[in-house]
Symmetry: C2
Subunit: 206 residues, 2 copies
DNA sequence: CATCCTGGCTAATGCGCGTAGCTTTACAGC
DNA sequence: GCTGTAAAGCTACGCGCATTAGCCAGGATG
């Protein structure tokens, strides 16, 4: 009986491959049976390396979120302001398009209070931190920063989700649509920074 | 042996209730067993009224998409331009927040070529048509209209998806963030209508 | 009254997760 | 080199769910 020589990390790596191979549905369709088949091992054997399917999913999610964060930071080093935001948005989408399954993994909802989700929560916070850092450069008032972060995440995430889900049916260049979205986003955040500097204390909405 | 008096529509209605009862995960967690329990019937009996779980899901999705469309049209009657877009966005989000499970159902990807998805495809097209109709009022150039539609859908869909998925952790008013997003969206589309006769937006680097 | 369709049922299959408990491998220590 | 032990595999099993097959009641229709 030859040993497969598995390990915790090896199993997680295989799971990532299975997820990648499954396209946008890859994460939802992730199954211990598939990972076991990939590893050339019987399904129960995986429990020697991983607590459960849910735990494995979490691991994959953590990896995916970290990769997404890394892609974002890599794309924004040495850039600032609109330039950085544009690069971040494109890097984000690029990752999602190249790894649809893993991107889907990042959509998993983590319970802020569940210790099992601690690493995932932390990874998520770091990911948002990248967006926050880029938006810092726009000189937004403190309380608008969060609105801006949410707007940026929403726009890009929504676009990518719809794109991957086949939501864009029209015969029209998707890249161009994304460019337009990013342009709108940048303009919107710049406007937010302008409009809100002046009427900051009294809060008079023009 | 008393009869339950089921019918195709009755089963679908029950499925909708199950989905509603399950919160944001309601659609994913939809199961024939639950519907059968709700109907007071053994699971296999459902097959007399419904082809499969997948088919039932599709039915629920069609209903959800149509309801979303109806909410959008109802909110925009008698309005135009920015006013209409704002109302549409808020109606969209309201539906999602009030029916998280059904909204999740609308995210299902329909195969444009699969005849089984025909009604779902049609419903989706009608839904997009509402957005298109509202954006017509902005006087955008023809080829920018699709970009604008995609941007609007992306922003709002992304926001509610993150909101429902617990993606907004900061202690900051979510309603206000959404207002800000909508304001940015409206401004962005107005800007698109104004300065977009001159040139296309710059292509993204890389 | 006989018939037949309809809508329920039970039984059984297949698949996936997860548990229990056995076996063998690889390595540490002697 | 020998042996003991923990780790890493296995098979067998139980559970829940979808789905198929085939049985049965019961009410409408002739």
């Amino acid at each position: 009986m030859p040993r497969a020589g598995l390990s915790h990390n090896a199993v997680v790596r295989l799971a990532c491959e299975v997820v990648d191979a499954g396209g946008p549905r890859g994460f939802t369709d992730l199954t211990l049976a598939k990972v076991a088949a990939e590893a050339g091992v019987a399904p129960p054997s995986l429990y020697k390396h991983v607590g459960s399917l849910a735990a494995l999913r979490r691991e994959v999610a953590v990896i995916a979120v970290r990769e997404l964060t890394a892609a974002g930071t890599a794309a924004t080093v040495g850039r600032a302001g609109a330039d950085a935001l544009r690069a971040l948005a494109h890097a984000w989408r690029r990752y999602a398009v190249e790894h649809p399954g893993r991107y889907a993994a990042t959509q998993i909802g983590a319970d802020p209070d569940d210790p099992a989700d601690a690493r995932l929560n932390e990874a998520g916070a770091e990911s948002v931190q990248v967006v926050a850092a880029v938006l810092q450069g726009f000189g937004l008032p403190e309380e608008r920063l969060i609105d801006a972060i949410r707007a940026a995440r929403s726009s890009v995430h929504g676009f990518v989700t719809l794109e991957l889900g086949g939501g864009f049916r029209m015969r029209h260049d998707v890249d161009q649509s994304f460019d337009t979205l990013v342009t709108m986003l940048v303009a919107g955040i710049e406007a937010l920074a302008r409009n809100d500097h002046e009427s900051s204390p009294p809060r008079s909405p023009r």
